[in-house]
Symmetry: C2
């Protein structure tokens, strides 16, 4: 996986959250994911298909962080991960991937996006089953952690 693929996703998540929720996450060091399994409570996933490559992206949030983003974006704070929260996580996933797609398109890497899917379940883990390297980008905040995982098969 080309390292040029990383930053657009990282920038795009912080753009979306700062614009929509006035929230800045602190990015950690991106790393290649081997055996590591990142856990979270609610995740948005999206498939990507392009002429040169295909892959998948996930954005995973701790429940407390997802609820904080919900309150900041929509002014309401449910007690649990309900359908409004999964809708919001699906939208964020779409916006982050769409933002990265624009930046990568300018560099000559084109892909189309599938529709997002949101998983909810306390402490679930995600495994991307592409042939290529898996990249994990951790983010921390006062409200909980998030991470993006991206992988492309080339």
């Amino acid at each position: 996986m080309n390292v040029e693929f990383i930053n657009p996703f990282l920038e795009s998540l912080n753009n979306v959250l700062s614009t929509m929720a006035s929230l800045e996450l602190t990015p950690g060091k991106p790393r290649l994911k081997k055996d590591e399994k990142a856990q979270g409570d609610v995740s948005g996933l999206i498939g990507m298909v392009g002429p040169q490559t295909k892959g998948s992206l996930s954005i995973t949030f701790d429940a407390a962080l997802a609820l904080e983003v919900m309150q900041r974006m929509l002014g309401e704070r449910p007690n649990e991960i309900n359908e409004e929260v999964t809708d919001m996580v699906g939208e964020i996933t779409n916006m982050v991937t769409g933002g990265a797609k624009l930046i990568l398109g300018e560099k000559g890497y084109d892909f189309d996006m599938a529709t997002p899917v949101v998983v909810s379940g306390t402490g679930h883990t995600i495994s991307h089953k592409s042939d290529g390297a898996k990249l994990i980008m951790p983010f921390t905040s006062d409200f909980g952690n998030a991470h993006i995982e991206v992988c492309f098969d080339k």
Copy 2:
């Protein structure tokens, strides 16, 4: 969502499991999913992108059924959902979607597949965030339940 889209996925799952694991699942009645949330322990997800439509598919298994399929396909039975099991669920997801893609391609519905992603976590739920109808196909067996969900945005 066109009803012609349903049967190829249903047939494809039973083809894959009978060929690879000598296991027949009993299909229940496919239905439109509204508020219903199907739960499971390990799920394979894949994005689909075509010129006419895009969407997502998930196949969710109870842990006991996934471990039975593992034993029948690979002759080993781990005590829990480990990386071998998630690899197998990713492969099944690829094969089922690939089988349906062939059948649908003959009918003039073309799509490309992203790479699969596998979620593990006891009792997680999946929400497909496409604009179109969501279809859920339940399957039962002596070992546990499975279900396929498919949705396309048109």
